[in-house]
């Protein structure tokens, strides 16, 4: 078998690396496109969670890429109970029952999260200008946010109750007079809608 010349091999190698690296711009374009295409389904997850959470504060974290295993974290002021389940595990229903969750609604939420590859839903507290506030936080995992040499990224989408301020570039501000971006969960966010912002994070929770 004829050998490939060295320069061709090198060229192929460099091309592979270049194609495997994606710029942040690619990821950002993906984020807005993904949100536009799935706005309704993502909004549904947010609505389902928002409805269930006040009864008994909780969060759901999917732990594997196949979205088969998840952790249900049930919160009180002092306690956080962490349970790990397989999606179809019978003891999940026992636990939901024990904590008096609306079992059907929670199962619907889990199924919506799996469909959208949403691996974390939570109500997150933050303190802009020392006042307590909260957002509904969704993390999305998607093959388009992975590349060969770069760390995996997660699309984080936050839903506010009120319209938020932003600068000319769409960066979230905690108040219109702020000069610095308003961070939440250690991240700077960009506008998608008046009450919906996003970021690409290296961690999902």
């Amino acid at each position: 078998m004829a050998r490939l010349p060295l320069h061709i091999v090198l060229l192929l190698f460099v091309s592979c690396i270049l194609f495997s690296c994606r710029s942040m711009k690619d990821f950002s374009n993906f984020s807005t496109k993904f949100f536009n295409e799935n706005e309704e389904k993502l909004g549904k997850i947010q609505e389902q969670y928002k409805k269930l959470n006040p009864e008994r504060p909780f969060s759901i974290v999917f732990l594997d890429r196949q979205f088969n295993t998840f952790s249900l974290e049930i919160n009180s002021d002092t306690f956080r109970y962490i349970y790990k389940f397989l999606v179809n595990e019978p003891r999940l229903l026992d636990t939901l029952d024990k904590f008096r969750f609306n079992t059907i609604e929670v199962m619907n939420l889990i199924s919506s999260m799996r469909e959208m590859h949403c691996n974390w839903v939570n109500k997150l507290e933050y303190y802009p200008h020392k006042t307590r506030n909260h957002v509904i936080y969704l993390s999305i995992r998607n093959p388009n946010l992975r590349s060969f040499l770069k760390r995996e990224r997660y699309l984080s989408i936050i839903y506010f109750d009120e319209v938020q301020s932003h600068d000319a570039e769409g960066v979230l501000l905690h108040s219109p007079s702020d000069k610095d971006p308003g961070e939440i969960n250690g991240q700077v966010f960009w506008r998608l809608r008046d009450k919906v912002y996003y970021t690409l994070a290296s961690y999902f929770r």
Binding site: T78, F79, I82, K84, K98, Y127, R132, E183
Partner: protein, 298 residues
């Protein structure tokens, strides 16, 4: 039914812990002072003037934060994305064994810009004093100026090999290696700050040479305060990319109880400003644990 019964039975220790920790009075006979004494001291400080040493820490907010900490000692929170978890964990000791002594130290530090706790003199520089009260985007820590003062002083005063490349504190360093704590630094801090006898087993990169980890934890829990140095990324599954595969400890927590449920262990521990209850297998506990620090009063 039997399984549910077992689960409820296993919940009993955590309920007892919550009742004892949330009660209005700390009743440990080994404690040097009681919570009530600390609250009386704080109420006598209601007209505290603005400190010239801590320009961004309002005296009323400082006092209110300390009072909140004493009333709810488990609420202390290291802040989002900071490296303050070791400092929050070790604060469990003064809050539970000597709240009055800690409160007196904090007020002295606020009034004079310097104070002594245990064998350690704290006299932070301008960089630390000008940052305290201004930390933001850290969650609950944003509105906890007394905790900001305390954590920043500890990060500034104690140094380990992780801090060797950045020993001088500057704004923003709370999130990076300047504030990080390795296992020996953690144990040194406890030994120097509090009258505790510390027995530590573990290392920063290797798991401790403990023959039966579960038995060791169960035994030590009976006789003192137990801190665990764990791989947080595995415990909470923060991310699932290549970085998480590096098997190193990143987090300190206070283990409060451990009970067997079927073939797993129900761990009740304090971290991130609340008590967490989680069932883990013995092998997983061994896998995530890199250090165990057992503290008893001297």
């Amino acid at each position: 039914m039997n399984r549910i019964h077992k689960r409820f039975r296993a919940l009993v220790p955590s309920i007892l812990i919550s009742v004892s920790l949330m009660g209005t009075e700390w009743t440990d006979s080994a404690a040097f002072s009681k919570r009530q004494e600390a609250l009386i001291y704080i109420s006598a400080m209601s007209s505290l003037p603005q400190s010239e040493f801590w320009p961004h820490v309002d005296p009323k907010e400082f006092t209110k934060d300390l009072e909140g900490d004493i009333r709810q000692p488990l609420r202390i929170y290291e802040g989002k994305v900071t490296n303050f978890c070791s400092y929050a964990a070790l604060t469990y000791i003064p809050f539970h064994y000597d709240p009055l002594g800690f409160v007196q130290f904090m007020f002295e530090l606020y009034k004079n810009g310097k104070a002594r706790l245990g064998k350690v003199n704290f006299e932070p520089g301008d960089e630390v004093r000008n940052v305290a009260g201004l930390l933001k985007n850290k969650g609950f820590l944003d509105i906890a100026p007394a905790n900001q003062v305390w954590f920043l002083c500890l990060a500034d005063r104690f140094k380990g090999y992780l801090n060797v490349f950045n020993k001088q504190f500057d704004p923003g360093d709370e999130n990076n290696l300047c504030a990080a704590t390795n296992f020996s630094k953690f144990n040194r801090m406890i030994r120097q700050l509090f009258p505790m006898k510390v027995k530590a087993k573990g290392f920063d990169f290797l798991r401790p040479a403990i023959k039966d980890m579960i038995l060791y934890l169960e035994e030590k829990l009976q006789t003192g305060t137990l801190f665990m140095y764990v791989n947080n990324r595995k415990l909470y599954k923060i991310k699932d990319n290549t970085a998480s595969r590096v098997d190193v400890p990143t987090h300190f927590l206070v283990l409060l109880s451990m009970t067997r449920v079927d073939n797993r262990y129900r761990l009740t521990y304090w971290d991130y400003g609340r008590i967490s209850v989680q069932e883990l297998s013995a092998s997983f506990i061994r896998k995530i644990t890199f250090g165990v620090t057992h503290c008893t009063l001297r």
